[in-house]
Symmetry: C2
Subunit: 694 residues, 2 copies
């Protein structure tokens, strides 16, 4: 599908200028009306966005969820009005969550008038799921860049998996508009390095180099040679001297499309707030131009000074016709091909249909193993690896990897045919992210946005490096599975820099993220099942480095209880419990042992396994009361992490055995003794609490 | 102090080899004994560390806290045994927290035998404050690189501030040993870009390029041209083809020392686990070699196979003499110069003496303004900026800036003479970090490690980008002030990607970090006072975008109460309170208004301002009980953030008005209505709680 721009009909220059100025003035007017927003970049980059969409992007405005559409990612999310204006002018039609047309435009002129207002389809930064045509939520800088690498990987993986001779189901490109801020953020550096390594020639970053940042000229902080850096990453680097030179820009896209051995980086030199009295100044970046400046700018453009939200006659039609004229036939040809594909490859077609609905192939759950009781047990990272491998054999597009820690996180797929994803093998299912946690998270989000079911792996303490994409997965409701192993002082000798303390709390605090810390191998199995059953929630799966006994489920409740987030694992044999002992993860069997010891001494305790606060809080009052009856106020939570949040369950009258400080470098047994994570100490504290609550 | 290595006495080659192999075998033996650790990199880089310390590093083993010593940062913290071996052989003497010699070695041979054991001075990763000679805590990759840029900035700032004609008090260099992992992490990319921009020619990164990462060859994930990238950043790039070629390495350091217009990046090609059967393999990275392999390796080295922790006669003495022979005279000359300096510049000398003790110049607190009552009030970012500027005029080495957001965070120093820190002006006090939050945090830590009092600035939501250095500041007990503005849905139109929800909880969860969210301008003043009074705690200072009324402190309690973390701001006029209303930050005045409204309706409420949970938890039981008496169980916390952690104060019987979901893009007033942050709603919920608790 590569075409040369010189072969395309050249638009009338006046019409082109009018269309570009329409984008510019819509952005100016919307920001001015909202009295909030970022006018300067849409004004500068309107010619680029216009040319890209008019002449290159393969997109059918009537079918925005066509799987093989080109992706356009606005990594400079603050320039949202640029995207909204394009979506409006291109006549993109709205689709609902199921991909069905609603009959409404994705962005109407009224929506643009409602820019940044409550409930509008035009929020301050583009939000996935809120506005058709927004491929990913952007705003936090660098994230769109990271997402795009995930989308490019996904395109390659989907092509490898589904394409057959004569059936090029996937061959789309990913375009990114990014800026100086993106280029300064480390996450985009990480992502660019990996994209170069993987030779993702379907990826094109268009870098708006306007020499302005919020504090002033980029001379204040950013004078590196960005192009040279990208050459170091192995990218094809092209310069366009003037954002207004649409022909030069079109040639740069031709060059991208002609490049098949590396990603392309186009440096476009622009003037922020082009044409306005604030042009070339940081004052054009993040605030309305002001009514007077808006008028003055319109005058410069030869625009009616008093007209607001003006779309001259014929502009939208011409733009839509150009986009649709290219996109619709391409999409229709694809649908025809897909119809034939369905006949020739029904299994693959079914799988793809499920993927588009966000579903896994049927029967994947049957593969999940159960684990026999085992006093020695195994680390939950190990059981996690076993469960993952079992499921992955049934779910070909469950693809992921680790940030250079897979031998430790046990997140490698080791079965026949899994292989490594590399520049010459897109069928590989093990991604080697390198020591790039932040990009890993952001890339995983991009993969999830392109039908894959991604998972990531690193140590829990390094969740700190990738919080922004975890949060964005939750905001976007993407079912990414973030695996975190080495989840406590159980790390041992590596010491406090590698021992998570606050991390469980910081993940549990993210709205919409299901943080699950399973307490034995069978809870691990249940946790993976829950994680992959989620279609709108990301999961943080928290696993141990050290061995955990596998509980005897004939003696204790089934691990299926995990699906409710928390459940009564074992109870007092006679009468109401005097105390509720709560455990998660590697501390659960320790709590069970304490429960048994107390029982042998005549103390009645209940053991609650509470692997997911998120799921537990979703249960109704009656269920939660049945687990934690109001009457039993002596409660003790045991977790080798910080105490933040535990008061919700133990209340004023309960207690915790948790970490109050950072850890230390030592063998685990020594640390557990030092910090009180022993059966004897649990029993002692439990007795105190019972006494206190009498 | 630049010298050419050719002028230095060349060590006997056999002696050199013996010394290098001593480092290697100590690392092998210590890891083997601990049965845990990373032998391969110490074995590979021993020649580099040896040569650097023997021939170049300016360091007096008897006075490790000499301010003008060269800094050596082991960014590859997992290679800690390399550093411990060097510190042992160089005979570095231990100093206590006040810089006084204890008479002990920094690292004895017994300490090395205790590698990775509880309470030892040789933890798994180097820990600042635990081992003399460890300049910063490393382990999380990229952080040492970031720290080093802060140290290099600090050297420039200290030189600019203290040096006078004939008094070069500061002219030291900063050396970093880093690896592939560091190079893949975005934080080091950010830091390198800024270091190049600032032309920090006192900075030398030595990159151990061993082509091995944990998952295997770097061909799996990392094939960029790192040198080309650093040239893009504006660094001087030098290659050393073989880590064992100490002469070539020495020449590269000569080249660094001869370069005065840019930082230097030395790519040293090495073989991980050099000389062992696992050489060149990822298996040499993160696990003991195994007894057999240790013996085989010793045989390769010509080492006694059964000897353990062997330091051949004369090796330590020769090494120590080399280091000391250069470092002691340099330090003594410096002390003599400093004695003269004290006479000529007594004010500066006093200031420097205080800095070395971690103290600010006396009288700084007197500058802190008070704010009159004001119903309209001002945003706490604005009052924060005023207080910062007032204090900064009294404290010349309070230096900081923002991640390209200073016009929004109001963290610029705007008074005469403050200026911007740039490559040609090291007297400037405003640092322009660029859009590099992660590096900003890491750089600030490095500055704090070199006597400065740094602060940073960005939006609270972007704390996610810099959590690793915040955590490390807490682990290292560095009094960095991390300013975070735009602290809630008060961000308004920018929408959910820019509205922090979980972030207060995630900061409060970090042990040793004082998170303060002041509730009006006078609490802001008190918060800055507390933050700068801390000598061993970092502070997260949480400020609003939107205006907050300034409370009338004649009517309500003094803002000095903030020093206790929480205090009774206003109380029921007659009788015990029926309910305790708790507020922080921008919600505090809203809670006060509710308190007044309830009072007018005959409801007795207490208002507690709770800006710092950290400080409040430090108070004794009696004080905490006086604020939150057990008897009053109806409690309502109001905060425009998530609810995580609030149960600690409101208990099972109280409630919160907090955010349960992500926010939305809209003007703040609309959001407050939508999410229940109105005086009417506070009163309604309060009444319900009172009823429920009757």
């Amino acid at each position: 599908m590569k075409a040369d721009s010189a072969q395309l009909a050249q638009p009338d220059e006046a019409l082109e200028r009018l269309a570009i100025d329409t984008i510019r003035t819509l952005a100016m007017d919307a920001v001015q009306k909202a009295n909030s927003g970022h006018p300067g970049t849409p004004m500068a980059m309107a010619p680029v966005a216009y040319t890209l969409w008019r002449d290159f992007i393969r997109y059918d405005p009537d079918m925005p969820d066509w799987p093989n559409r080109d992706r356009f990612v606005l990594s400079i999310g603050h320039a949202s009005m640029l995207l909204y204006a394009v979506l409006h002018l291109a006549g993109i039609k709205e689709i609902d969550a199921d991909g069905k047309p609603t009959g409404e435009p994705a962005v109407s002129l009224d929506d643009i008038r409602q820019f940044r207002q409550l409930g509008s389809k035009t929020p301050g930064h583009p939000e996935y799921r809120m506005t058709t045509g927004v491929e990913t939520t952007t705003g936090p800088l660098g994230q769109g860049c990271g997402n795009s690498v995930g989308m490019a990987i996904a395109e390659r993986a989907l092509a490898s998996h589904f394409n057959r001779d004569g059936f090029q189901l996937f061959d789309h490109d990913i375009y990114v508009l990014c800026g100086d801020g993106d280029m300064m953020e480390g996450v985009s550096s990480e992502a660019a390095s990996l994209a170069g390594h993987l030779a993702l020639s379907n990826l094109c970053w268009i870098y708006d180099s306007n020499h302005i940042s919020i504090e002033g000229s980029t001379d204040l902080a950013f004078t590196e040679d960005v192009g040279a850096r990208f050459e170091g990453y192995g990218w094809n680097v092209i310069h366009v001297d003037d954002a207004n030179d649409t022909k030069a820009f079109a040639r740069s896209i031709d060059a991208f499309r002609a490049t098949d051995d590396r990603p392309t980086f186009i440096v476009v030199h622009s003037v922020i707030g082009w044409g306005s009295p604030k042009a070339g100044s940081e004052k054009a970046h993040g605030e309305p131009l002001g009514e007077d400046n808006v008028r003055a700018t319109k005058k410069t453009y030869g625009w009616p000074e008093e007209a607001k939200f003006l779309v001259p006659n014929g502009i939208a039609e011409a733009f839509r016709n150009a986009v649709s004229g290219r996109g619709r036939p391409a999409r229709e040809a694809w649908e025809a091909m897909y119809a034939r594909y369905r006949e020739s490859f029904p299994t693959e077609a079914t799988e793809m249909a499920l993927l588009r609905q966000g579903k896994l192939p049927s029967g994947w759950q049957a593969a999940i193993p159960t684990f026999p009781p085992d006093a020695k047990g195994l680390a939950s990272r190990d059981s996690g690896g076993k469960v993952l491998n079992a499921i992955a054999q049934q779910t070909p597009l469950l693809i992921g990897g680790a940030a250079d820690l897979s031998p430790s996180t046990k997140t490698s797929l080791t079965f026949q045919g899994a292989g490594s994803f590399g520049k010459n093998d897109h069928s590989g299912r093990n991604l080697h992210f390198g020591v790039r946690e932040h990009a890993m998270g952001s890339i995983a989000n991009g993969m999830a946005l392109s039908y894959l079911r991604p998972y990531t792996g690193t140590f829990l303490v390094f969740a700190d490096y990738m919080r922004a994409p975890i949060r964005l997965a939750a905001i976007m409701e993407l079912p990414v599975v973030f695996v975190f192993t080495h989840d406590s002082i159980g790390v041992g000798e590596d010491g406090p820099t590698h021992q998570p303390i606050e991390h469980l709390a910081t993940l549990r605090a993210i709205p919409g993220l299901d943080t699950i810390r399973p307490g034995d191998a069978n809870e691990v199995a249940a946790a993976w099942k829950v994680a992959l059953s989620h279609s709108h929630e990301p999961t943080a799966l928290i696993l141990s480095r050290q061995a955990i006994p596998t509980l005897d489920r004939t003696k204790y409740a089934s691990a299926d209880g995990l699906e409710k987030g928390g459940y009564i694992l074992g109870d007092a044999e006679r009468g109401d419990p005097e105390i509720i002992l709560i455990g998660t993860g590697s501390e659960l069997p320790m709590v069970v042992a304490a429960h048994e010891k107390l029982a042998s001494e005549g103390v009645r305790s209940r053991v609650v396994s509470l692997p997911s606060w998120y799921l537990f809080e979703k249960q109704d009052d009656a269920y939660r009361q049945s687990v934690f009856p109001d009457a039993v106020r002596a409660r003790l939570a045991v977790e080798q992490g910080g105490s933040m949040g535990w008061d919700r369950y133990v209340g004023h009258d309960g207690g915790t055995i948790t970490m109050k400080t950072f850890g230390a470098s030592a063998p685990l047994a020594k640390l557990q003794e030092k910090f009180g994570f022993t059966v004897d100490n649990i029993c002692a504290v439990a007795r105190d609490l019972i006494e206190k609550n009498k």
